[in-house]
């Protein structure tokens, strides 16, 4: 799409704030302000979402392959955000189960794998941070 989506929605958000918000009061003004903020979040996410999900999914599969048990399977051939998100949810479910098993395992190997999972989760949170987040 041209103009590019992030550029267009950021401008829409800006117009909503500067042109329309001043004409509104109370509940309507609040809805418009939240709408503008959501457009900014879309702009934040639009370009990088698929790449981020593919990177996360690859990292989760690599971690799961280090554990005992069946390989995680799955792939990212379907690059639609909805498909990548479904696969991300499936892998996060497997990671959650693996973490629970590792917490009950006192071996150094388990501790190392658990530490690697925490490191990856911290990375995903950093990469998913939106500009307007308080933290």
């Amino acid at each position: 799409m041209k103009p590019e989506v992030p550029m267009a929605v950021r401008e829409l958000a800006h117009r909503l704030r500067t042109d329309l918000l001043a004409e509104l009061t109370g509940f309507r003004a609040n809805v418009a302000a939240m709408g503008a903020a959501m457009l900014d979040m879309v702009a934040d996410e639009w370009d990088g979402a698929a790449a981020r999900l593919v990177r996360e999914n690859c990292a989760f599969r690599a971690l799961l392959e280090q554990a005992d048990g069946p390989p995680p399977g799955g792939n990212d051939e379907d690059l639609r955000i909805s498909a990548l998100t479904r696969e991300n949810d499936r892998l996060r479910g497997l990671i959650t189960e693996l973490m629970e098993r590792l917490e009950a395992d006192s071996s150094p190997q388990a501790a190392a794998l658990l530490a690697a999972i925490w490191q990856e989760l911290a990375r995903t949170v950093t990469e998913r941070r939106i500009t307007s987040a308080n933290f």
Binding site: F27, G35, T96, V125, N134, F135
Partner: protein
């Protein structure tokens, strides 16, 4: 949902208060307050045979068909009534209507304290910076006074019973059930936090009426930063007063995007004010438990916001906005508290 209009308010009030005459409703409009309830403001006038002509400013809150918080009008109404007159300023409750036939949801009427501020974002305006220390003392001072009120002096029959020993696990069970009810996909970080919290729980120093949502944005203040009234008691319950302190300090409520909790004071200063006002001690291990618990509770609320929208139970913009804005930040806050960031 039925429209809230001056006409149907007059019809309802006439049925509800048959002794009132010449009921008039004016200047009705919806306020931008709260993600879980609809809030309206209006001017009410009527003639009471005993007291003569009356005029008052009124707040109406309505339960929606689906919310991010499982609470109801009767609960919040009773919470306000319980604390009214006990040293923590709140608006006076006026009427409760639990029959949903009138407005497609229970409603409550309360005294409207107009002319004050309640915005948490206003504190980030440089003009307000010199007042922040005073506002912080007002906020955590009121929270401390609430913690100090003996629960024996309050009618807490509206809320689930608790003991000093079971309140932590009881609250954890409640919010874990909410997470499960509003499942929006696997959450490795919050699941790990839940497992950690189940391994050990603190015993409360004392039981208190816990507000449940005590933070900047949920109290009225005047131009000088004096706290006028504490609002939004829909999550009030009997429990450990450290819960309110922990809630007010969570990272997602750092509205200045810095280390000032609730956008007002450092964590250390908030704790100091609260301890001084409550006469209690914020045991570091117990407070750390409650701070991580708050990540679970808040994420349960943000997930419920997403769930309500995703499942078509509601389409309030604030639900989608809150979920987009807060879920990842809450994960990050939990990581920080678990030492994994």
């Amino acid at each position: 949902m039925k429209d809230i209009t001056p006409e149907n308010l007059v019809v309802w009030l006439a049925a509800r208060q048959p002794q009132w005459r010449d009921i008039a409703v004016a200047n009705l409009h919806r306020l931008p307050m709260g993600a879980s309830r609809e809030t309206f403001r209006f001017d009410l006038a009527y003639v009471d045979p005993a007291d003569g002509a009356q005029a008052m400013k009124v707040i109406l809150r309505r339960d929606p068909p689906a919310s991010n918080v499982d609470s109801d009008r009767a609960h919040e109404f009773a919470a306000y009534q319980a604390i009214y007159g006990h040293g923590v300023p709140v608006p006076k409750m006026l009427l409760l209507e639990e029959d949903p036939a009138w407005f497609d949801g229970a409603v409550s009427l309360a005294e409207d304290l107009r002319g004050y501020h309640n915005s948490e974002y206003q504190f980030q305006d440089p003009a307000w910076a010199p007042k922040l220390p005073h506002i912080a003392r007002e906020m955590w001072g009121a929270m401390g006074r609430l913690a100090a009120v003996p629960v024996e002096d309050l009618d807490l029959s509206f809320t689930r019973p608790a003991t000093r020993e079971n309140t932590a696990v009881q609250e954890l069970d409640y919010w874990v059930a909410s997470l499960e009810k509003h499942d929006v996909g696997p959450e490795p970080i919050i699941s790990a936090a839940v497992r950690q919290l189940y391994r050990w729980q603190p015993v409360a120093q004392k039981l208190a009426l816990v507000h449940g949502d005590f933070r900047a944005g949920n109290f009225l203040y005047d131009d000088d930063g004096n706290l006028i009234a504490v609002l939004d008691w829909e999550m009030a319950h009997c429990g450990d007063p450290l819960e309110d302190l922990a809630w007010s300090m969570t990272r997602t409520f750092c509205f200045g995007k810095n280390d000032l909790r609730s956008g007002l004071a450092t964590r250390e200063e908030a704790i100091r004010i609260w301890e001084e006002a409550s006469g209690l001690t914020a045991d570091p291990q117990a407070l750390a438990w409650w701070e991580l618990f708050i990540c679970v509770k808040t994420q349960a609320i943000w997930n419920a916001s997403a769930h309500v929208w995703q499942t078509g139970q509601g389409r309030e913009v604030i639900h989608a906005y809150a979920a987009w804005w807060l879920r990842n930040a809450q994960d990050k806050a939990a990581l920080e508290l678990m030492g994994k960031l």
